[in-house]
């Protein structure tokens, strides 16, 4: 009997080790969030740690793509990948890097703002690990689908309660690893707070005038298809918003709540001179009402569970059998960046920023007959 138990135990142990090895290798492979092939507009690539060496050598350090215009002007920062499970955020930033040519001023793009969050997936969310696109040459480009929060390998454990350092606001302990609850950051804080601090330092050092933070939200979340603006950005946002409405994009303008701390649109506005704007699009693959979770859902948004929820009146965006493809979501973000930057440049004529060759909502979405939506069309704008 004893011998039998030993044999059973040994078999279980070997099996467990084999599974741990296979899945461990798979986990290590997630380290690369996806290579970016800079377009003609990129003049330099820096690391965020150049603004705060406290994150040098960590998984929080991340690339900054600098796109210098021919003429001097203002400065714009685009933050993609604040949340790794919101693919239109970082895919918009990457599409910008690979296509845009800056004419006036300087544009800084950080495609993977919380780089650590790109290197894992949230337990029990069953997220796809990768999203794929065929580029204009037919080659397959692979990008990670990440997590809302910093990888626990880089920052663990979470406290019971997360206390936002600057305001004392308390949130659930898991929010400790959410960079969009960590601004303006803490110099000697945890990794997430340090990365937020580095971004704040970068904005201050470069005198960034206008900052975009690109997000997605679940379709049942009230703030969706919306721009959230700090009070000092309202005039820029309201003019830009009208242009977006003229372009056929339904967009709400929400003021940044003064009692919700740690977010870009509140803290970067309060602690730096930049005008922060945060944009949200509808992403079914992060929602609570979603059906089967896979790459197709992340790229097409087609989901009968969300169609049913729409019929029940539970959503804050229209939802039908066409879903919300990645081209629509990236198109909204890029068109938003175009219109809000124009609006800023008109109102702050002494420091204008202008750029060209960025695909907008029409090129990416409305000009399509629908057959190439869900990744194929966006791939045509990738190098």
């Amino acid at each position: 009997m004893m011998k039998k138990n030993t044999i059973t135990g040994a078999i279980c142990l070997v099996l467990a080790l084999a599974i741990a090895t296979v899945t461990g290798i798979n986990f290590i492979e997630l380290k690369n969030p996806g290579d970016i092939i800079p377009g003609p507009g990129v003049s330099e690539v820096h690391m965020l740690s150049e603004y705060f060496d406290g994150i040098a050598g960590t998984n929080g350090d991340t690339e900054i793509y600098v796109m210098q215009g021919k003429k001097p002007g203002g400065k714009v920062l685009i933050l993609g990948g604040t949340h790794g499970n919101e693919p239109s955020g970082y895919m918009s930033a990457i599409t910008f890097i690979e296509n845009a040519v800056v004419d006036e001023g300087t544009v800084y793009v950080i495609p993977y703002t919380n780089r650590s969050g790109m290197t894992h997936n949230d337990a029990q969310e069953a997220s796809p690990q990768y999203i794929h696109f065929s580029n204009k040459d037919g080659a397959v480009r692979t990008f990670r689908y990440g997590s809302r929060a910093t990888n626990p390998i880089d920052q663990w454990p979470d406290p019971d309660v997360y206390v936002h350092a600057a305001s004392g606001q308390t949130l659930s302990g898991s929010e400790t690893r959410n960079i969009n609850r960590a601004y303006p950051g803490v110099e000697n804080g945890n990794l997430t707070e340090k990365v937020a601090y580095a971004i704040t330092q970068m904005i201050k050092a470069e005198n960034v005038n206008l900052t975009f933070d690109l997000h997605e939200a679940s379709p049942e979340y009230p703030v969706i298809n919306a721009t959230v603006s700090h009070e000092k950005g309202m005039s820029v946002a309201s003019v830009g918003l009208m242009e977006l409405q003229f372009a056929g994009i339904s967009m709400a303008l929400e003021p940044s709540p003064v009692n919700l701390h740690g977010l870009t649109h509140r803290e970067l506005g309060d602690y730096t001179d930049t005008i922060p704007l945060l944009m949200e699009t509808a992403n079914a693959s992060q929602g609570r009402l979603r059906g089967a979770t896979n790459e197709a859902l992340a790229l097409t948004g087609i989901d009968k569970a969300y169609e049913k929820s729409a019929e029940l009146g539970m959503l804050y965006v229209p939802y039908d059998e066409n879903g919300h493809p990645i081209e629509e979501r990236v198109g909204r973000h890029l068109q938003g960046i175009i219109e809000y930057t124009k609006s800023y440049s008109e109102q702050y004529a002494d420091a204008p920023v202008s750029f060209s060759n960025v695909p907008g909502y029409a090129e990416l979405f409305t000009d399509s007959d629908g057959s190439d939506l869900g990744g194929a069309r966006l791939g045509q704008y990738l190098n």
Binding site: I19, A20, V22, T23, N26, N121, A123, Q124, E125, A126, Q129, P157, D158, P159, D160, V161, V163, G168, Q169, T170, L171, S172, G173, S174, E175, E220, Y221, P222, V223, P257, N259, L260, H261, R288, L289, R290, G291, A292, T293, N294, D303, A305, K308, S309, L312, M314
Partner: protein, 425 residues
């Protein structure tokens, strides 16, 4: 029949067959049901998903294991006997007040950590001998401890489910104190008096005195209580002085256990640790199985199917759906239920005051810790009073659980009327 329903039924049937027909452990049955769900859902055997799902519970596993080691050390050192004799000696003349005080002590670790398991395994295990010496039967004692753990987890200042639900729609955790106090403390008093008062109203101290073990108190004096007091201080320290780093529950329990080795009776460290791990191993296995189960549900769309089915009920039935679905889903994890179902239900009741509604939903979510197969509060409450099966505890707690649901629903219905008086920002 929808594909998701077929997958779900396949998972449930596999689980039931594993538990009842094949007599497999609950944990193995959960793993099998996750594998079958993935196969029926056309996902093959998704190793990555099966492993990833378990990682939700890494922290919980550490808390449970370390809390059990702490509990065993405190028990072996003689500290439990010492505390029981002290409390009964001081308060035997006011039994109702004594019961309420004991309930508060049971709730306390839950109030400051947001975990019912921490409450049941620490203060619950410390108070169990006190309650039983007072004449309360083991079943009623376990029920008091289980409900105390649940209510402690929801009572302010720290309520993780409310933070999760509020965070889902970006409500900061501000103004929740009074609603949570009113939701939990009346229920705590009701529960402890319901289960305990009839046994203690005529407390015969002289008879009890003979059963008390005063030896550890007399032999070691104050120092016997040091591990308990130290754990308590470390739990509170970070909350009172936020600049003091949060040590985390596992480390706090281990520090308490380490100190306990030197403050009372001699303890065989390896034996105590081995016993502790052995006694929690089935629960840890269940948590792993549940992690796989829920990940496969999400992967295959079963999770969304369940959530949308609940929310598609007509308005009046929405309360019933919430009262049934959230605790049922809580069988997987009360925090998981708060996130997956609590947030959509809060959105469904959007016209009611959100702070009160989120608080009330968090109260219902706590019942998940009494729902088999995980039933963490029930299992550990039964364990600390020495019961072999935990199902009688769950049955006994049915009445306070129903009262709790009605109480929470009343708060949601009258949320807007209550808000001006109890939501202080």
């Amino acid at each position: 029949m929808s594909h998701e329903l077929i997958i779900f039924l396949a998972m449930v049937v596999t689980f039931a067959a594993g538990c009842f027909a094949l007599k497999l452990p609950v944990s193995i049955s959960m793993v099998l049901s996750a594998v079958i769900g993935a196969l029926v859902g056309g996902q093959g055997i998704p190793l990555r998903h099966l492993v990833e799902g378990t990682f939700s519970y890494v922290d919980t596993v550490l808390v449970i294991t370390c809390a059990m080691i702490f509990m065993k050390v405190v028990q072996e050192s003689g500290a439990l006997d010492a505390l029981a004799s002290l409390i009964i000696e001081k308060f035997h003349k006011v039994p109702a007040l004594l019961l309420c005080l004991i309930m508060l002590v049971i709730m306390f670790p839950g109030m400051i950590t947001g975990s019912s398991t921490a409450a049941v395994l620490s203060a619950g295990s410390i108070m169990a001998p006190v309650l039983m010496l007072m004449g309360i039967p083991a079943l009623e004692t376990a029920s008091i401890i289980a409900m105390g753990g649940l209510l402690g987890m929801i009572a302010p200042p720290v309520n993780i489910p409310a933070m999760i639900i509020g965070g889902g729609i970006d409500i900061p955790y501000v103004g929740f104190e009074l609603p949570l106090t009113l939701l939990t403390f009346p229920l705590a008093i009701f529960t402890v008096l319901l289960f305990g008062y009839k046994y203690v109203k005529k407390l015969d101290y002289e008879a009890i005195k003979l059963k008390l073990n005063n030896e550890p108190r007399e032999k070691y004096g104050f120092r016997i209580f040091i591990p308990i007091l130290l754990a308590l201080v470390l739990m509170v320290l970070n909350k009172a002085v936020p600049s003091f780093p949060s040590l985390g529950m596992p480390l706090i329990f281990l520090i308490g256990a380490a100190v306990g080795l030197f403050t009372g009776n001699k303890i065989k460290v390896v034996t105590v640790c081995k016993d502790a791990v052995q006694s929690v191993l089935p629960v840890l296995g269940i948590l792993m199985g549940v992690g796989m189960f829920i990940q496969v549900m999400t992967l295959t769309g079963v999770r969304g199917f369940i959530v949308t089915s609940c929310l598609s009920l007509p308005n009046g039935l929405l309360y019933v759906a919430m009262a049934v679905a959230i605790p049922l889903f809580g069988a997987v994890s009360s925090y998981g239920a708060a996130s997956v179902l609590g947030v959509p239900f809060l959105l469904a009741f959007m016209s009611s005051n959100q702070i009160i509604t989120a608080s009330a939903i968090s109260l219902i979510a706590a019942l998940g810790d009494m729902m088999p197969p995980t039933a963490l509060a029930g299992i550990f409450a039964a364990q600390v009073v020495g019961m072999k099966k935990y199902t009688p505890v769950l049955k006994k707690c049915l009445i306070p659980a129903l009262v709790l649901i009605v109480w929470a629903i009343l708060f949601i219905i009258f949320a807007n009327q209550l808000a001006p008086f109890i939501v202080l920002k």
